[in-house]
């Protein structure tokens, strides 16, 4: 079965650079979530999209933005990178309109800012 695909898997950037993370949800899933997991931390919700519209916002810095495209893939854009942005970034997708839905996670993108 198709899973959530994230690219790239690993990314190294320098301070003040820009990074773009991509997420391809499971086909027919209508909702995409982005989470940030710092070293030794629990995942923190950043932002979500339902049917290509932003549906909820968590602890996402103003330097970050995200969008969902017509093909339902999503991109997380991160500018003016800081050392503290080094983390594992997860994308998850679900079919929100269906009961008992669960969020399926991608394998994550490990971002290292040096």
């Amino acid at each position: 079965a198709a899973g959530v695909i994230q690219s790239p898997r690993h990314l190294i950037k320098e301070k003040r650079e820009t990074a773009t993370l991509k997420c391809y949800p499971i086909p027919r899933h209508d909702t995409v979530y982005w989470y940030q997991q710092g070293p030794g931390q629990d995942p923190q919700f950043l932002i979500s999209f339902y049917e290509k519209m932003q549906s909820d916002k968590g602890s996402i810095p103003d330097r970050f933005s995200a969008q969902q495209f017509s093909d339902y893939h999503s991109e997380l854009n991160m500018s003016s990178l800081e050392l503290g942005d080094s983390a594992l970034y997860f994308c998850a997708s679900s079919l929100l309109g269906q009961q008992n839905t669960e969020a399926f996670f991608g394998q994550g993108t490990r971002l290292t800012v040096v």
Binding site: T31, Y33, Y35, Q37, Q41, D42, P43, Q44, F45, S48, Y50, S55, D56, G58, L88, F90, A92, S94, L96, N100, T101, E102, A103, F104, F105, Q107, G108, R110
Partner: protein
């Protein structure tokens, strides 16, 4: 705002024995979902088990079962016949069923489970 608390940063169990991981949560909502996710060293987030708050029956998935106490806002995970592959970080998570939060998960801090051979 909802919160999830896992009071055991680390736990250890002997192979083939049983271990219980604790989780409590705080919410004013009556309808929600609770989950246990497993995160092995690969860092992949894997769903272990889920519970709908409106269901009184405790969820079970093979060797994994939960003890859901809605009034006490407690949601513990029991792993029976522990295997070496169960060693991982386990996160308890909460999800609203309604309202403005469109399904995002609120995680606890996690419990690191070690399995001794």
């Amino acid at each position: 705002a909802q919160t999830v608390t896992q009071s055991q940063p680390e736990m250890s169990v002997q192979e083939a024995e049983t271990v219980t991981l604790s989780c409590t949560y705080d919410t004013s909502e009556s309808d929600y979902y609770l989950f246990w996710y497993k995160q092995p060293p690969s860092r992949q987030m894997i769903l272990v088990i889920r519970q709908e708050a409106y269901k009184q029956q405790n969820a079970t998935e093979n060797r994994f079962s939960v003890n859901f106490q809605k009034a006490a806002k407690s949601f513990s995970l029991k792993i029976s016949d522990s295997q070496l592959g169960d060693a991982a970080m386990y996160f308890c998570a909460y999800r609203s069923r309604h309202g403005g939060s469109q399904g995002n998960l609120i995680f606890g801090k996690g419990t690191k489970l070690s399995v001794k051979p």
